[in-house]
Symmetry: C2
Subunit: 539 residues, 2 copies
């Protein structure tokens, strides 16, 4: 996630009690030392001459001016780098000037940073220029990096010596206890899975859980390369997958307190919360993200029965629904979100996507969770109130967006997959209607169905694909959901993903919603949900 | 100084007793806090739009992507930078990616590092690329810089915020006690100095002493930007100036022990000694530099009468002369340095300079100092031996290099200013001959005399110009020596020097012996000797 909204003189509403609670819930971090499994010199773009190098041979790779050494740490890591540097030749008579480039994907190694001209800050590129004044030296980098590959380039040295990398290691960091996890294996019973499919699901599950673990830090980060922070929409999907894997319940709880503890001045939950140097809500508001707060709290409750947290955060959750309902207008048939309010929804990165139907659907979806919270709290008047609003929203939605003749949801003239998917998740159709609609969506994505504009309004992110799978499961298309996971996330594994990407279109592997693949995050938690579907037994 | 010689498997001869003594003599460093006196934004090459900025206004200079702020610290400093950084706009949602460029001369600010293609490592360029992950932040840079100007460029940020530099300071560092020094004032008696000249000498003296102080660190460094270490030829001139100013005798002593403590395996003093990570002689040998060890020890003794140091380092000093004498061959008339040995002399950066006559002269010069050391040590047999060698060398020199008809020294066919100057310093002519010869050199430098090839073998460094002034003083040309200091060092002051440069040709201010002015050192101690001439009362 990376959004630009600037509110002059933004002063978030902070709740010291909730923030104190969040501070008490800081989780211990687990560390492991990882060393490179190989090395090579990169000569050409995208075609590294792979000389697998045993590390005790590294001294032979003494680097003169302009030379490089690429280290492969074997898989995606998040942590801190230490290099032991020495030299051959005369005593160094000038500093060693190094460039370090950290890459999640091998293709990043040959990207030229200067070529990037996207709208997301190039300051996210994991590159450092470092002068080493005295050799031998142990270089401990203070910043955390997300990477599998490290390219060390000797920018300049004197002709009198060459640099030698004697040892390299990464101290990894995560709040996930990865030792807890057993590989997922298919027990063979009650499923249509073939042995090949089961094996493929096993690999998808492994990559998904590595993705989640590497994003589990002081908070659930969206991506450890970029933006390295807590976004509400991402949190909901991370929490779901965490419940079936690492089960770090207090990390979810901490994040819920953080969102509750610093909000917009009018009480809305921000799309994102900063934790450094102090906790502060971002001045970015997303209609759907604020509603996922209510959803995520309910899901946390049903996993933990943690009544104390319910008591402390219930009002915040209800406030999100109330603020969103205020953005609806009464029609003869019911309640409909205004055009303006719908523009504040995220839904997906798709350009030109009309978000009104999907935003209305997210509100209906969230009300369902809100009502459960109210019942759990024995707040019957609120539960009844939400029930009434739910009915009005459903009726409004059907009247405004449902084209009964074409059996499609139309959002201000546009028929996107996103609108169909979210309306199915909002549960306002009869089961057989939802089933027929999702088949149409699937056919449209496959190019065999033209009534839904899948090419004009493509799904761009694994985040949206999660809701597509969820909608298929909700409408009885279990086989199709399974196939989609194998095809979509499976194609990332085939591409060589150690972790799942922020954005992925199998037909265009290097596409980026940010104006350049070099800025893409190749470990992004909103893409970790196959492990949720798999381990929850939903497929 | 910056030389390339590589000896495979160089193992210096270390003397633990001498190195322990050097370690005991580490000098305390003095620190002062300096803040910028102004700031401006740099738009065009060499023509900064100087908007003098009072520092409390700096917050108005919030920097977006691509913008810069240049700070002027008022004069040349050596030390450590601290920046207090903050922001305007939204909470920073991406790291701040900064480039810091430190410049001794304002012209360096607009140099493009990538354009530099000289033979000295670009790793000496004082530039850093830094990511600041959390704002506000106090950025304390761990490396030491030599600079007056600092250009801070915001390489990238997100559109949501701009960077603000709230405060900047430099903690300066020197082993010179600058508080000891009173400005030099002309007492008006017994000199031909006009009031204007006296004023100009005062300014030259101030710049010279700043040059020396900024090079006085853990050792006498050649230049605090580059190479930041101890060279023997430079040390001799620094020590001379130190004796008439800061009088940090133990720093000279420490340096003499360092050179004595780590030498070539055969006992020769190296041209340069490294002190980090441990003391180690460089594998660079210069014929003249090793002889300056003997000279510098004698000068230290005559300032201090420190017999203990004499006892400990006498053998090292005599060994330098002995090793050099072995590089001479017997001619019918006397002793002459071999062609090969002469090539190992530095003398000056002048390309194509034939160094044989000058090297012979340096050896004669050094023997004079060696003989004084022997006499001081009551080592009469050595004193007599050196006297004999001195006579043989003088006779050999006159026979080999002196053209009695033309009254010029000719070195293998070449008539350079350097050969004349060094032979005058070697003191082998009659006074009136030396006087006539130095007048010819002066006229040749002024373009009025063709018998000496001043344009083909130019003097390139203030180091060589020091010996030119010394030779004029030795041959009775006091007025001419004074005029030359005013003209040569004075032109650097006119050019805006806060400290004196490593290389200087008034006709070509941006010339560099290193292939690019960006790598030049603009504070270089071998150019500090005007203060010696002035304060010693020699002019």
């Amino acid at each position: 996630m990376a959004l630009i909204s600037i509110i002059e003189d933004f002063h978030p509403l902070n709740n010291a009690r909730l923030l104190d609670r969040a501070a008490e819930l800081v989780q211990p971090l687990h560390h492991h030392v990882k060393e490179p499994v190989g090395g090579f010199k990169l000569k050409e773009r995208y075609s590294p001459e792979k000389e697998e190098v045993v590390l005790h041979k590294v001294p032979h790779l003494a680097m003169g001016k302009g030379e490089n050494l690429c280290l492969d740490f074997g898989t995606h890591l998040v942590g801190y780098l230490t290099l032991d540097l020495s030299y051959t030749g005369s005593h160094p008579d000038a500093p060693a000037f190094l460039k370090l480039k950290f890459a999640e994907q091998i293709s990043e190694l040959s990207e030229n940073t200067e070529d990037y001209d996207g709208w997301v800050s190039r300051s996210w590129m994991q590159e450092e220029y470092i002068h080493v004044d005295v050799l031998p030296a142990q270089l401990k980098l203070p910043r955390r990096y997300a990477f599998r590959y490290l390219k060390i380039t000797m920018m300049d040295t004197s002709p009198k010596y060459k640099l030698v990398v004697k040892h390299a290691e990464c101290l990894t960091e995560t709040s996930a206890d990865v030792g807890k996890i057993k590989p997922w294996t298919f027990d063979g019973s009650g499923s249509a899975l073939s042995a090949d499919e089961a094996d493929r699901f096993g690999r998808i599950d492994e990559v998904a859980l590595r993705t989640l673990a590497n994003c589990m830090q002081d908070v659930f980060e969206d991506g450890p390369k970029r933006d390295r922070r807590l976004w509400m929409g991402d949190l909901r999907l991370q929490a779901l997958t965490n419940y079936v894997s690492f089960r770090n319940m207090d990390l979810v709880r901490r994040c819920l307190y953080l969102f509750g503890g610093s909000r917009f001045p009018d009480g809305r939950v921000s799309a994102c919360v900063f934790t450094e140097p102090t906790v502060q809500a971002d001045d970015t508001y997303l209609f759907d993200y604020s509603l996922f707060y209510t959803v995520a709290l309910e899901e946390y409750l049903s996993e933990t029965d943690d009544e104390e947290t319910l008591n402390e955060l219930y009002d915040v959750a209800m406030q999100q629904i109330e603020m969103s309902l205020r953005k609806c207008e009464r029609t003869p048939e019911g309640l409909v979100i205004t055009e303006d309010a719908a523009k504040d929804a995220f839904i997906d990165w798709t350009e030109g996507l009309n978000k009104r139907a999907a935003a209305q659907a997210v509100l209906i979806f969230a009300l369902r969770y809100g009502r459960r919270l109210a019942r759990r709290k024995n707040d019957w008047s609120q539960a009844n109130y939400l029930m009434e609003q739910l009915e009005l929203l459903k009726k409004g939605a059907l009247a405004m967006f449902w084209d009964a003749e074409r059996e499609l949801f139309v959002s201000d003239g546009q028929v996107s997959p996103a609108s169909q998917i979210w309306m199915v998740l909002a549960d306002i159709l009869k089961p057989e209607e939802a089933n027929r609609l999702m088949k149409k969506v699937r056919d449209a994505l496959g190019g065999q169905e033209q009534s839904i504009d899948a090419s004009g309004c493509p799904m761009l992110t694994p985040y949206m694909h999660h809701y597509y799978v969820a909608a298929m499961l909700r409408s009885g298309l279990k086989d199709e959901a399974r196939e989609h996971i194998l095809a979509y996330w499976g194609s990332m594994v085939d591409y060589g993903a150690d972790t799942f990407f922020e954005a992925w279109d199998p037909a265009h592997p290097e596409a980026s919603p940010y104006g350049g693949a070099a800025i893409n995050s190749y470990c992004h938690a909103w893409s970790c949900t196959p492990a949720y579907f798999i381990r929850k037994g939903l497929i």
